[in-house]
């Protein structure tokens, strides 16, 4: 594995960890918040709702796969 690839892989593992869907879910939630705010909706509630939903899905996947 090249040095650059190892470097990127380290930072990916460091920030994203072993469930990339968490990062993807949070990215989507932030993007939707952005769109809503842009259209005049102060969607402060969206991220606090999205975070537990993303967390529950991730925990469910981990428990089902046996940890």
């Amino acid at each position: 594995m090249s040095y650059v690839r190892r470097f990127l892989s380290f930072w990916w593992d460091f920030v994203v960890g072993d469930d990339w869907r968490v990062a993807a879910g949070i990215g989507v939630a932030i993007a939707i918040t952005w769109v809503l705010v842009d259209r005049g909706v102060d969607a402060w509630w969206l991220l606090p709702v999205a975070v537990p939903l993303v967390l529950v899905q991730s925990l469910r996947r981990t428990v089902r796969s046996g940890g």
């Binding site: 460091f14 920030v15 994203v16 960890g17 469930d19 968490v22 990062a23 949070i26 990215g27 932030i30 918040t33 952005w34 705010v37 842009d38 102060d42 969607a43 402060w44 969206l46 991220l47 606090p48 975070v51 537990p52 993303v54 967390l55 529950v56 991730s58 925990l59 981990t62 428990v63 940890g67």
Partner: protein, 255 residues
């Protein structure tokens, strides 16, 4: 204490706790290798890693200070949120029995065994194994602290205070480790990681939303509401997962 003061206090406390728990793990590695192979090389390794971490905080802190606060909060908030959810997820899995608790005594024993088995390779006048293990251990554990300190400090405009929180934890763990001369296995690591995970997730959520233009009701006071909501949700999840685990164990015995 006003809302700005309380969020700054939480920020310093978060840096302190994150740093303390990572330093406890780094201390275990350094003790394990130092007790077996002598202290000179591991301590030089620790000093080299700390020097790199300090330079990283100074350089990245200065670079981030030049970025406007709104995009900075969006990027830092999103990263903090994803990073914090990792901590929170693992803490929930550990608290509910779905993942083994980190045991410093076990880690210490494993480190000692490896240090005893490793060969002797001397480079630049140092026991290279002892140096690299201590260096890598402190650098890798410290990187998480640097990430948290920079994220907390830059998004709140209080990098100095966040660094002070981390430095206090470093000194405390170092002094206690030197006095006891054994791993700090009684430190409730999972509880601390749970708290830090909640703080990272809360601040990440708050800043990421602010970064895309959200105006929180009550401004920074909303942090307390978000934190309370995440605390309640997390404890609820621990409870549900524990019950699920107990039910699975009962049905396994019955079968």
């Amino acid at each position: 204490m006003g809302p700005v003061d309380s969020s700054t206090f939480v920020l310093v406390a978060g840096s302190f706790l994150a740093s303390a728990v990572e330093m406890v793990e780094a201390l275990t590695i350094v003790l394990g290798v130092g007790v077996v192979r002598g202290w000179r090389a591991p301590l030089i390794g620790v000093a080299a890693a700390l020097a790199i971490l300090v330079v990283l905080v100074a350089l990245l802190g200065a670079a981030l200070a030049a970025i406007p606060i709104e995009p900075l909060r969006l990027v830092v908030g999103a990263l903090l949120l994803v990073f914090g959810l990792q901590w929170l997820r693992k803490a929930i899995l550990r608290s509910s029995g779905h993942k083994a608790l980190h045991d410093e005594d076990d880690a210490y024993r494993a480190e000692r065994e490896q240090a005893e088995k490793a060969g002797h390779d001397s480079r630049v006048g140092l026991d290279w194994y002892a140096f690299t293990v201590a260096f890598k251990g402190v650098l890798l554990e410290g990187l998480e602290v640097v990430f948290i300190v920079i994220a907390f400090g830059s998004a709140q405009g209080e990098l100095g205070l966040a660094a002070v929180g981390a430095a206090l934890a470093f000194v405390l763990v170092l002094v206690v480790g030197l006095v006891l001369h054994r791993p700090l296995s009684r430190v409730p690591e999972n509880t601390i990681k749970f708290v830090v995970g909640l703080l990272l997730t809360t601040f990440g959520c708050f800043w990421a939303a602010e970064g895309v233009g959200v105006e929180w009701p009550g401004d920074e006071l909303a942090l307390l509401g978000v934190l309370a909501f995440f605390v309640a949700t997390s404890f609820g999840l621990v409870r549900v997962l524990r019950q699920g685990r107990a039910a699975a164990a009962v049905s396994k015995v019955a079968a």
